[in-house]
Symmetry: C2
Subunit: 481 residues, 2 copies
């Protein structure tokens, strides 16, 4: 609402109340004369693309239009499945077993990509996975093998899995098994390695491989045994609690990690010998991000329940392979809509800068797709502070994301916003209409293989893939465009 | 600042801007005529007590007055010691050993009180402690023994200890040993029993006594052994983290409890057999309030370092025995200033109401004395919500407490207030001057012995004991009053 007017004008007798659309400079003249001006943050839909703008209009919720009715009903169903998701952590199994992943097959983050287009950190992680599996004995041989065509690559998303950063999964790696009880969907993710030199940022030295072996030999089996003793862990309730404890479920996971350790501790000591339990607790104590991969698998299992509903404009995956940013809509099935991906806006470790950074990477944007991570920034003001922002900026990010989402998820309440639910269910129509790009909290990898993490920050999804997805959705509904 | 005026008045040509002091009804007339009125929340100092008001004026920081110089310097020293406190959890030992507590001696919360004046829940806890120690075999005999004069009672505060609610400590109970490394002060507290039927709320049935025996036989020794293995736990850093995770260190302790469990888990499994470690983790998993007593001991060890500085008007203890509310100032040494204590404003468990409630109780207000708990409410909006308030109310409580404190503690930063430190170091002068009573988060006990907790809520300290303390401080400085 405009403020009360301060002055009367001779040209406009009575009261002048101005609303400005478009160029900000038009605000200046009336303001200089003391008139209150509301500057409306308006941009033409679809960044001014007339064709997409017309398609958008056809896809609007309109009860008088058969297409509009289909889209509205499809989104309502999708949102209901999203809000009803009940992800449970049920087990930890080798990927070979849980995903049916065969020898010489590797999964990676993001939309599909072949070896010759892959970025440095993904290549590094692939080299590490080949060495870990013993398919080659040295990095050069591993690289040659990968380039030879003898290894089959596929996105994690094509196998009911998600991976942070490079997201490489090989058959022997243990993966968490998360079952969305309400949706009947299952999702998987590797175990989180912690910070420093880690495979997911493209490092593959001896310490990285040793940790992966310990995951397969000790940590994975110990967690699996503990989960059989404890029964499934309810990740919806655990994440809901963590959002009231400063986590946003993507870049801050200390609360959820601590709650998980406390929940599993009795079963860990009941099922492992003391020495094993000791090293497992040592690792879990040192890794504040352990819960990240569970959070991702929980979000994936929830999004998959909302996927594949004809006509639904809800985004069911956002993901990056370090070269392309890709999204999927519920209504367009397994097709990816991609655009080139940029470098996040972030804070770098000493000695590094944006020129060292790889473009944004990882399946972890599944958390934002679900409505946590950057969408729940109000829960974790520490993250905006990390990149020079304030607690108010954190609230603003969440409020902004509410403009492109279908609803609020009351199971994930935000204390700083009077316990309203986090905005959830990105509507591709609203992204294209408003030009508001989804915000994604992320880590930053060095662009070269073998180096690792060099920072963390905030990325925005590229708008072009949302426009492409809207065109795809329109075609799937027979709307001429 | 007043808003811009909306109307012009014939009586006051130009602009009428009103500021109202005192009765709120005077605001109505000018407001009815459209004039902006700022209502100043002002009350006469010392609730209008002229004598105390004049003493207050003499105790103000005034570089031209020798008394004012002493008070200012003394408070500066006290605040420095408070901000510099480094509380470490070093051990868990029986009270007999850690406090030199002898047979037939019992400690209780609050200022001194004799058996015949004690409230129901404290009597209940004393009966429980006598049964636990085996000094009597049945509740009636325990009560008779307590009334006979054969038991010596003293406040926890007189023995370097603090106890939540009834706060009863007997020689065989294990207590945490917290050492403030910077101040050379030590403080102690019992182990937290969890919710439900517990001694601190005055219950003493078989389940209560069984838990106390398990504390002495199993939990205390297990934690002691684990702490020898892990080394001291830094409670300053742990509580600082927990305040960024939705805890306020008094009525919400889930983050700190979870962080503590994660920190101690490796050492627990290294020093206890599997069966013991299992039941210890079971108990710690079920008790979200386990950290409360550690928080209290940390605050006590910090406040004691700021105690005993001649002239200092900083409050070093606030405490209640269910009959009297008592405070101590740094500058008036071990003397208590007391007034009758009221029933907290709270939410009751089904079947109970204010008529069942005991007046406020416990040493736990040491957390507010230190600047967390109710003073850090901005960290834990869930608590105001619990009594029907909002997240904004939580910020308001913290802002209000900043008006009666000497400084901010940057080690305990509040995310929702842009990471400013929690207001710390209650200045008795400011409390009396402003009439703003310290806010205290608290539990509510049934007024009868043996029943237990019936609710939780928010209490305000009675102003009268602060006025009495100011008079005591003035006398100690030779100010005639």
């Amino acid at each position: 609402m405009a403020a009360e007017p301060m002055t009367e004008s001779r040209l406009f007798p009575g009261v002048l109340r101005a609303i400005n659309l478009g160029l900000a400079m038009f605000v200046e003249a009336p303001q200089a004369h003391g008139a209150p001006v509301e500057a409306l943050d308006w941009r033409p839909p679809a960044e001014g693309d007339r064709e997409v703008g017309l398609l958008l209009a056809r896809l609007e919720d309109d009860p008088t239009d058969p297409v509009g009715r289909v889209v509205a009903a499809a989104n309502a169903t999708a949102l209901e499945r999203l809000l009803g998701a009940q992800p449970l952590l049920v087990d930890v199994r080798p990927a070979r077993e849980a995903l049916g992943l065969e020898d010489r097959h590797l999964l990676h983050s993001g939309p599909p990509i072949e070896w010759d287009r892959m970025c440095g950190p993904v290549r590094g992680a692939i080299v590490g996975a080949i060495l870990y599996e013993g398919w080659a004995a040295a990095p050069e041989a591993a690289e040659a093998l990968a380039a030879s065509g003898a290894i089959t690559f596929a996105p994690c998303h094509h196998h009911g899995a998600v991976g942070p950063m490079a997201g490489v999964i090989s058959p022997s790696m243990p993966v968490v098994v998360v079952e969305n009880q309400a949706g009947g969907t299952r999702a998987h993710a590797t175990l989180n390695e912690g910070l420093g030199k880690v495979l997911r940022f493209g490092a593959y030295d001896a310490s990285v491989l040793e940790r992966l072996r310990w995951f397969g030999d000790v940590l994975g089996p110990a967690l699996s045994a503990a989960l059989r003793d404890s029964g499934p862990i309810n990740l919806r309730s655990l994440t809901g609690q963590a959002l009231q404890m400063g986590d946003e479920g993507h870049n801050r996971n200390i609360a959820a990690t601590s709650l998980l350790v406390r929940a599993l501790a009795p079963s860990i000591v009941r099922t492992a010998d003391s020495a094993t339990a000791g090293v497992v607790f040592d690792f879990l104590r040192s890794n504040d991000h352990f819960f990240l991969n569970l959070s991702m698998a929980a979000c994936k299992s929830s999004m998959d329940a909302a996927h594949g509903i004809p006509g639904a404009s809800i985004v069911t995956a956002m993901s990056r392979n370090g070269v392309d940013f890709g999204i999927r809509l519920s209504g367009t099935g397994d097709r990816w809509f991609t655009s080139p991906v940029g470098v996040p806006d972030g804070l770098y470790f000493p000695g590094y800068g944006p020129e060292d950074a790889n473009p944004d990477l990882g399946d972890s944007a599944i958390t934002e797709t679900f409505g946590i991570g950057g969408f729940a920034m109000a829960a974790a003001p520490a993250i905006t502070r990390f990149v020079g922002g304030t607690a108010s900026d954190a609230l603003e990010f969440t409020r902004l994301m509410a403009r492109i989402t279908l609803g609020r998820n009351p199971a994930y309440a935000l204390p700083a916003l009077e316990f309203t639910g986090t905005p959830t269910g990105i509507d591709a129509r609203r992204v294209v209409d408003s030009g508001i790009a989804p915000v994604i909290n992320t880590g930053i990898a060095h662009r070269l293989a073998g180096v690792g993490q060099i920072g963390a920050g905030i990325a925005r999804a590229p708008l072009a893939c949302f426009s492409a997805a809207i065109q795809g959705l329109a075609r799937s509904l027979g709307v001429p465009g």
